[in-house]
């Protein structure tokens, strides 16, 4: 294992080194973009009764009157020490909020992407084994429809039908119904905490509240999954080794297993990319279903011009994306004999 261990260590080092400039680029871009965007939080902070003097005093207090680059230098200096600053909406430290809210978003996204993979890959496989069959055309049409459906519109329609008319789904106002006692927060993910605390009633309510948003989000995530797995699997089904396997009289099940095994690494890489782009899309689903995740917090901050929070939100997404790419590439490296 020694040689393998060294390989992994080298890989991680290189990847971290490469992603530092990328993260810096993102932090700089966000920092500048929000300030350019005509938003001036000082007036909001000073409140309706503010006058000129109070504004200038506040602006100085928050060092907003200094040149942009100096402000960025300060921000970077504090960032390196792990201080993400304080949300101007309520003086709550940004770092605390991220730890508090990120698990909720992760829970939604990971569950949905997982489900999407469970749905997408088999459909892709079935479509690939019978190219241009009726199922293939249908799945292509379905996946493209999924691509074209605006998330927020789908969420609204889902609430209208499943909550308002059919009353199947619980009220879309948070992650847990009120009557239920929330479990002690350990991991931050409600589902895990419920299981850890053995609080089955809370688990039931949490799952019920997650059902509709996850269903919508899964549809959104399944569309690209179907399309991509179909493309990858078609390529594999036309490959020489599958033809040879057929010649050797392998059963359909064995061929399917072999095809999936070969599709694993390209699918995993695609999954990584999907995960990061879906993280940003989670904001809209959270907004409509009031799931109070990181996305809802970030979106609200964007609209209100709460700079520190927006920067924290973007940084978290960026760090998470880099982390996901690293993990996925690592798995691929271990899984993939071809390299």
């Amino acid at each position: 294992m020694g040689e393998k261990g060294a390989l992994i260590a080298k890989f991680l080092l290189v990847r971290v080194a490469v992603s530092v400039p990328v993260i810096l680029g993102i932090v700089f871009l966000t920092f500048m973009l929000i300030r350019v965007g005509g938003q001036d939080p000082v007036a909001m902070l000073a409140g309706p009764m503010a006058d000129e003097a109070m504004l200038t005093a506040l602006r100085a207090q928050l060092q907003l009157d200094q040149p942009l680059l100096l402000q960025f230098a300060n921000y970077l200096f504090r960032l390196v020490q792990g201080d993400l600053g304080v949300s101007w909406q309520g003086g709550i430290p940004v770092w605390g909020e991220i730890l508090h809210l990120f698990p909720a978003t992760l829970e939604l996204v990971l569950l949905s992407v997982g489900l999407a993979a469970l749905i997408g890959v088999p459909i892709g496989l079935r479509a690939a084994t019978h190219p241009n069959g009726w199922f293939d055309q249908l799945s292509r049409f379905g996946s493209l429809a999924g691509f074209s459906m605006p998330t927020y519109w789908m969420g609204l329609m889902a609430i209208l039908v499943f909550f308002y008319i059919l009353r199947w789904a619980p009220p879309p106002m948070g992650r847990l119904s009120m009557e239920v006692v929330a479990p002690t927060v350990v991991t931050g993910s409600l589902l895990l905490d419920c299981i850890l605390a053995g609080n089955w009633q809370a688990l039931g309510s949490a799952l019920a509240h997650l059902a509709l948003p996850v269903a919508c989000f899964t549809l959104l995530a399944a569309a690209p999954m179907i399309k991509q797995s179909r493309a990858i699997l078609i390529e594999i089904m036309n490959s020489d080794y599958v033809r040879y396997a057929r010649a050797n009289g392998f059963s359909k099940a064995t061929i399917r297993k072999m095809a999936l095994r070969n599709a694993a690494t390209p699918l995993l890489t695609f999954l990584g990319m999907e995960l990061t782009s879906l993280l940003a899309a989670a904001a809209l689903v959270e907004y409509i279903f009031s799931l109070s995740g990181l996305g809802q917090w970030g979106l609200n901050a964007i609209l209100l011009g709460d700079f520190a929070v927006v920067q924290g939100y973007v940084l978290t997404l960026a760090l998470f994306s880099v982390f996901i790419f690293m993990v996925i590439d690592l798995i691929v490296m271990l899984l993939e004999p071809r390299r």
Partner: protein, 291 residues
């Protein structure tokens, strides 16, 4: 299988063959052309002026005077949906041109020359991939004012690196092909090789991707409008209409959000189908075998 299909000279033969070969392409093209027609003939077809508000007929149900009903400001939803297609194309087509204008040469150079330019493109792609597009679009749109022009420029710029990546992939495969090596061996200067040999072939693959990127452009502009950042009332833009209609959905005025939502979804679907069909037709390997 012996029955001879329609004789070759019959004018229907060609489209039917295409339809059989790739139904997605034909359906996609049909939808896009339908909306293009709507956009071009909007002033003629639309029963009312899209921004004219009938103060006394707010939130009327569909049927009667307003075929798709009226919205919160007393404006006819049908006319606004029809005129909305103008904004959809108004964004998709110029954004598409910017994407091609910047993306194509960028992808070509990065794919062919490689080196620092290629590295730069890949790094920007990393940044873009890890960056929530909502923020990027929001800040820039907010900075440059929420006009249609700034929307188009933002979406075009945002997407050019992604388009460049598509072109770069095409160029990379072409660059290793023998006919390109031959062209270089014969002594063509690199710009000629790129321009004459690689570009025409790369264009095929890239154009297949263009409708997909235009679909994305329409969707992102509607999302921005929904969040309240993009184009705002009274311009009849689908995203803004869905946003305004969102509140009415629950109290029973479902039509304010439903029709723009359906229109948006169908056009984006049309673009996607067109792109998917095009990739199928142009890419022999993935063409799949006829019946």
């Amino acid at each position: 299988m012996s029955a001879e299909a329609a004789s070759p000279s019959h004018w229907l033969a060609y489209p039917l063959g295409l339809a059989r070969r790739s139904p997605t392409f034909v359906v996609g093209l049909g939808i896009v052309l339908f909306f293009l027609g709507l956009a071009l003939l909007a002033p003629v077809i639309a029963p009312f002026n899209p921004t004219q508000s009938f103060s006394y007929e707010v939130l009327q149900a569909p049927g009667g005077r307003f075929f798709f009903g009226s919205d919160g400001n007393g404006m006819d939803v049908l006319s606004r949906v029809i005129h909305g297609s103008r904004y959809a194309f108004g964004i998709a087509v110029p954004a598409g041109l910017i994407m091609v204008g910047i993306g194509m040469p960028l992808g070509l150079l990065a794919g062919y020359k490689g080196g620092w330019l290629d590295e730069a493109l890949l790094r920007t792609l990393d940044v873009l991939r890890a960056f929530p597009t909502i923020i990027l679009a929001l800040a820039v749109v907010a900075a440059t004012g929420q006009s249609l022009v700034s929307m188009v420029v933002v979406i075009g710029l945002l997407d050019s690196p992604i388009f460049a990546r598509v072109v770069r992939a095409e160029v990379l495969t072409l660059r290793s092909s023998t006919f390109v090596k031959a062209a270089i061996a014969v002594g063509n200067p690199s710009w000629r090789v790129m321009w004459v040999h690689i570009l025409p072939n790369a264009i095929l693959g890239a154009t297949a991707q263009l409708p997909m990127r235009m679909a994305w452009a329409v969707r992102i502009s509607a999302t921005l409008a929904f969040i309240g950042v993009g184009i705002q009332a009274p311009t009849p833009e689908w995203g803004a209409m869905i946003r305004q209609g969102a509140e009415y959905v629950i109290t029973g005025e479902w039509w304010v959000a439903l029709f723009p939502g359906l229109a948006l979804m169908t056009l984006v679907l049309g673009f996607n189908l067109l792109g998917d069909g095009l990739t199928d037709l142009l890419d022999p390997k993935r063409r799949g075998v006829g019946k």
